[in-house]
């Protein structure tokens, strides 16, 4: 079908999703962008956010990625994500606890480098919480 685009979501450990999609929304470094078939070739890094698949066999699938990059060509979308989690497998309560832990980490962090790291971790978690 001409109005579908193959979409691969790959983590270092395995191929998470490989499906035909009508549109894929990606959390690019410069903001969310949607990819339809025939999109101009782009390589973009991703910031923490949600990948959303619309249309096709995996329609409605939502994956949270904390980092990675996407390669888009007119015929194919490939996302390499360091860790990707299907949003519907995340439990809000556990997440809230993790956020609380992360906030504590910031308070306890020694030195600037550790603090920056902890803040980044918290930001990632908050993005995920917002996605639920």
């Amino acid at each position: 079908m001409a109005d579908m685009i193959p979409f691969d979501l790959v983590s270092p450990e395995r191929l998470l999703l490989s499906a035909e999609a009508g549109m894929v929304t990606l959390p690019g470094a410069a903001g969310y962008f949607g990819v339809l078939p025939g999109h101009a070739p782009v390589i973009s890094t991703l910031k923490p956010g949600v990948i959303e698949v619309t249309g096709g066999s995996a329609s409605g699938a939502r994956y949270f990625v904390s980092a990675g990059f996407a390669e888009v060509t007119a015929e194919r979308v490939t996302v390499l994500a360091e860790d990707a989690i299907a949003v519907n497998t995340v439990d809000a309560a556990t997440l809230d606890r993790k956020i609380a832990d992360a906030e504590e980490d910031i308070l306890q962090a020694k030195g600037d480098a550790a603090r920056t790291k902890a803040v980044a971790a918290l930001e990632t978690l908050k993005q995920l919480r917002a996605a639920l």
């Binding site: 691969d8 790959v10 983590s11 270092p12 450990e13 395995r14 191929l15 690019g28 470094a29 410069a30 101009a40 070739p41 782009v42 390589i43 973009s44 890094t45 980092a67 990059f69 390669e71 060509t73 490939t78 390499l80 360091e82 860790d83």
Partner: protein, 291 residues
């Protein structure tokens, strides 16, 4: 002449050994399958990463030399050698082959007057290198107790290596591991991690002109550190697959060897028993004749 009891005991003990090696072989076979699957599942990621970086790097190199991870520090004085082996033995020459290659690499670096630092991944490598190069070994990472090596484990090592690189503790990083060719053949290999090797980009790769977002240099700066972890992860997975492959064939030949020993002992046992019976008969007969 050894008594029959000692024969029986030895046969029983070799049989017990054969059972153990047989069980070990079957465990290795099933683990091998899983390790192979993991290695195959990791391949697309590493390959994609490789092509994107190659594309970006050749462009960056043409311009300004690119970031340090790509261009190097401009020096070649201190080398970090990461030696990845298994944590357990009983896998034939697997560990020794990796260590031998590591030793050759280290020796040739030392001859050229470079300083060498060693990071051991896996206990067996440390055990074998400790005596000779004890002072150069910075640390050992092992995966005892971890059932499946995940990307997070590799990322930890990667982060450590990058930290040291940032601190200027070494200039060139080489990884020694065993490439998994097939179940019966693992090839010890060295791979340069830092600065990242860039093969000449294939011409047909240039078919698509990408937009980069943010710009190329920034993407490259983000991808290169990640690539270090990915390469380590891939090497570790290949190592695990190779370890079980080697273990399987080592245990297979041990099982076969035990079978041969049992056959030989049984033959000898029967012969001795027969000899004893014959001797007793002769004694009885000649005793009867003497009367």
């Amino acid at each position: 002449m050894p008594s029959l009891v000692t024969f029986r005991k030895r046969i029983a003990s070799v049989k017990a050994t054969r059972k153990i090696t047989k069980a070990n072989q079957m465990v290795a076979a099933s683990k091998l399958r899983r390790a192979q699957e993991a290695a195959e599942a990791a391949r697309p990621y590493a390959e994609k990463m490789g092509t994107v970086i190659t594309g970006l790097a050749s462009a960056a190199k043409a311009n300004s030399g690119g970031p340090k991870l790509l261009a190097g520090t401009g020096k070649d004085d201190t080398h970090l050698v990461i030696v990845a082996t298994a944590d357990r033995g009983l896998c034939g020459g697997f560990n020794s082959n990796i260590v031998r290659l590591a030793r050759q690499t280290i020796e040739s670096l030392l001859r050229e007057g470079k300083a060498v630092k060693i990071l051991c991944v896996g206990r067996k490598g440390r055990d074998q290198l400790r005596r000779q190069y004890g002072a150069m070994i910075l640390d050992t990472v092992d995966f005892m107790g971890i059932k499946r090596i995940g990307f997070a484990d590799a990322a930890k090592i990667g982060a450590r290596v990058l930290e040291m690189f940032e601190a200027g503790e070494f200039d060139v990083c080489t990884l020694v591991y065993s490439r998994f060719k097939s179940v019966i053949s693992q090839v010890p290999t060295t791979q340069r991690l830092i600065p990242a090797p860039v093969e000449a980009a294939a011409e047909d790769n240039k078919g698509t002109v990408y937009d980069y977002e943010p710009d190329e240099a920034e993407i490259l700066a983000e991808l290169l550190p990640r690539n270090v972890s990915v390469q380590i992860f891939r090497a570790l997975l290949e190592n695990v697959a190779g370890e079980f492959g080697a273990k399987m064939s080592a245990m297979d030949s041990a099982t076969r060897n035990a079978g041969e020993v049992i056959d030989r002992l049984t033959l000898e046992y029967n012969r001795t028993r027969q000899a004893m019976i014959t001797k007793e008969l002769i004694e009885i007969i000649s005793g009867a004749e003497a009367l």
